[in-house]
Structures are given as structure tokens and as C-alpha cells.
Amino acid sequence: MTESSCIIIGASHAGAQLAVSLRQEGWEGRILVIGDEPYLPYHRPPLSKTFLSGEKHVDDLLIRPEAQYEKVGIDFILGQQVTSIDRKNKKVFLKEGASFAYQKLALTTGARVRKLDLPGSTLRGVLYLRDINDVENIRHFIGPRKKVVIIGGGYIGLETAAMLRKLTLDVTILEAADRILNRVTAPELSAFYARVHGEEGVAIETNVELAEFAGEGRVSEVRCKDGKVYPADLVIIGIGVVPNTELAETAGLNVDNGIMVNGHCLTNDADICAAGDCTNHFNSHYQRQMRLECVQNAMDQARVAAATLCGKVNQYNALPWFWSDQYDLKLQIVGLSEGFDEVVLRGEPETGRKFSAFYFRAGKLIAVDAVNSPQAFMVGKQIITRGLAVDKSKLSDRTIAMKEFLKSSPN
């Protein structure tokens, strides 16, 4: 008798959670996680923060230590790549030639960095930041007062800038749009982060059109189309990620900006689930298809997928949330602000370092950005989840405690 086997492709945050959740849901067969990096699943958020600074080491990043996986019978094959899935015969094939049969399969393949294709982009010292090896690479190039040019003023770029300033590097951020965080926040938030980074000594240039990276063997400057030149000992590019969907696509699964999954994280194959950054789902809170890039989605979808693979019914309906630590700023974001028609501010983003922004659409709260204001985050999460009505005119009044807003009734 062959033992039933669930294979998880991708030793990611979603993969780790899915494996553990399978056991919690009662999966008794083999669980095998296959990952192309040489590491057990690890936390990625600290990479641009405490791991970059050297405060944390690889072992500190691991979601769970090896012994804990052994204890519950979760096997790993690490540093190897899956090249194809044979859905008819229910097998996965590795690059090195081995193949494994599955009864159930989960794809937690994550995302990879979007590459910039410019003259000189393959020079030494032109780097990205997504995994442990990337950061170890970056560490070879950093040192006090070295010049780093960061391409892209998104969260990765800003967090990296904050940490490299702390390590006393000379930091310049080049952003293509007319403001940093253009894709994800209101102009008030962008202005706030631009001000703080300026105060901390980071130079930010917007509306930048890059021409090329130049240097002899290794990068020494970044050249722009308007003729401006920025000297650089190191360039870090953070311009977003693309989902790893090729494996799914080749196997004939539905893919459209992510592997298409239903509310139970199931693909169009009844034996294959997918979870995390690589998926595209219909979000019930926002009534549209979306692909999320965050830990919350990875963990919540993984739990739902594990239940589905065990034959149970669990619906994904979590509210997305995110966080970003820069300098002494803790930003907590709940919900998606895209499409907002009004923003209400609580606190003074022009001067202080503590405020929150409440995003509304058609009178309904859809997202909160909370800077050093955890109560705004916590209460906002409740308001959105429970659909409570909010008196907008009172939100900016800081003499009213955030908790008071939980006393209202649903919209």
C-alpha cells in the first residue's frame, strides 16, 4: 500500500504554514515541501530591516527550527527546483531528475523581483532584495559613508534606505513617479515619508527617468535621461515583484496575474491548491480579483488551502493588512486604499511622527494607514471587518479615544 502524500512546492511562508496546518487539520500521510532556496522557510520582512543590519542571523529568521518539523513529520527537499507537474499521473519532476507522486498538491511558489533591463544592469553591485542570498550579497558592498542609489520609492526601497542610513551610508532614492509610495498611499502619506527620510539625510528624487548604469566591471554611477549622474558604490533595485506562475501555467492551470484560486484556495484542478503571493483570488471585502503580496495573505490562504486539501470547507475572507518599520516609525496598514474618494487625517503629518489616515469610499471606511498609532490600526481593523458606521467629522478629534468608535452600529 502506498502512503498518501501531499507535496508542497515552495518552502515559503505560505508553504510552512500550509504544511503545519495540514497536520492540524488531520492529514496523516506524508508531507513533503520542496524549495529552491537552500533554507528552511523563513520570515522575509526582517530581510530589509534587522537582517540587513546584521542584528539577526539566518537561524533567527526561520519560521520554525528544523527539529519542530521533524517532530510532526514534515519533510523537506531544499535547494532543488521543480521543473514540471504531470497532473494526469499526479507526479512532480525535479531538475535533478527525481520524481515524486502526490495525492494532493499545493503551490506556494511566491513571487520574484521585477528586473530592470537597462544598459549596465548586469554590472557587479547592481542588486535586488528579496531573499537571504540577496541581502548577503548587499552586505559585501556596504560600509560607512559608501554611496548607495536605491531605485524605487516603495516600501522595500524606503525600509532599505532607513536601515542603510542607520549604518551611515550615503543614500539616494530615485523614483519614476511624481511621489514615493505612489501606488499604495495617499499624497499625504507620501509627503510624510518624504519629509522624514529627508530629515534622516536621505536624498529623494522623483520623476526620474533612468538611462543606464555605468562602471568598469562594477557599477560606479547611475545616469538619467536628463543628464543627471548619481555616483554609486552600490545600486539596490526595488520596483516590485512578479508571481511565480510558470509551473502552474505549463501544467495547464488557470493563470492570470497569479494562479487563479477560488474562495477555498483551490485551482481548476480539484487536487491542487495554491496560496500566497503567487495566487489571484476574488476578495469579498473589496469585490474584485486581486493578488496580494503580504504575510497575512500567505498565512490565511495557507490555512484555508490545508483545510480544503483535507476535504473540509473553509472560506477565505480575511481582511488584508501590512506593516513597515522605518527609523522610529511603525506603520501599520489595514485594508486596501486603492479607489478611495476621501481621506481623513488624525494627527499632524506635516510636523510630527505620529498620525493616521482613514480612507473612505462612498462614505465607507476601506483602509487605515497608522503611523505610530497602533490604536487607529486595531480599531480600524474592527470597523472594516464588522462594517461599523464611522462619524468622519469626529475621527480627526484626538480628544476622542479611538476605542469610542467601536461603539457605533453597523452601516
Binding site: V20, R23, Q24, H43, P45, P46, I63, R64, P65, Q68, V72, V295, Q296, M299, W321, W323, D325, K330, Q332, N372, S373, P374, Q375, M378, V379, Q382, T385, M402, K403
Partner: protein, 106 residues
């Protein structure tokens, strides 16, 4: 290694050896105690590792930071002994620590 006792909302008791220097949250996550969610992995950002420190141990654990206190103000079912378990570092002095877990982290 210090032993920490986790008591789930349904009364289930787990006595776990937790490595000194790691957090009460990590001990629960490592051992798949599902009353602790810990989405943010210990950066005091999500408040999904809420626990109640047993009265006998309340004075022995390190005090909460302002950020943690702010978060705790708004967790479900807050009590005087509420803490975020990611912010409690396990030490040899805390051998025998008892924490209770809430029914829900959301």
C-alpha cells in the same frame, strides 16, 4: 530549558520547553499551539499573539512598552494581565511561567 505552560481557552494544557532568549510566542508557534497566531513574526505589529500572564507571574515578566500597551488597549477581551507574547522573552528566571490564551486572536 525553561518550561512554559500554555493553557488554551478550551482548557487544554501544554507544557513546553522554550529556549532561553526566545519569546513566549515563539515557543507556542514552534509547537503548533494554535491559540497563538503571530502573523507579524514578533515585531509587535499585529496583536495576534495576545495572552494572559498568570497572576503569580505578572510582576516577574518585563513590563510592556508604550507601543505594546497601546495595542493591548484594543485587543478583544482585554484584561489587566493581557500581554503580547512576542514581547515576553523567556529567561531561566521565568521557568514555570503560566500563560492563558484567549478564545480568539481576531
Amino acid at each position: 530549558m525553561p518550561v512554559v505552560t500554555y493553557i488554551s481557552a478550551d482548557g487544554a494544557i501544554n507544557e513546553i520547553e522554550v529556549t532561553s532568549g526566545t519569546s513566549v510566542m515563539q515557543g507556542a508557534v514552534d509547537n503548533m499551539i494554535d491559540g497563538i497566531v503571530a502573523e507579524c513574526g514578533g515585531s509587535c505589529s499585529c496583536a495576534t499573539c495576545h495572552c494572559y500572564v498568570d497572576e503569580a507571574w505578572q510582576d516577574k515578566v518585563s513590563p510592556a512598552s508604550e507601543m505594546e500597551k497601546d495595542m493591548l488597549e484594543c485587543v478583544l477581551e482585554q484584561q489587566a494581565n493581557s500581554r503580547l507574547s512576542c514581547q515576553i522573552t523567556v529567561t531561566d528566571e521565568l521557568a514555570g511561567l503560566v500563560v492563558k490564551l484567549p478564545a480568539s486572536q481576531f
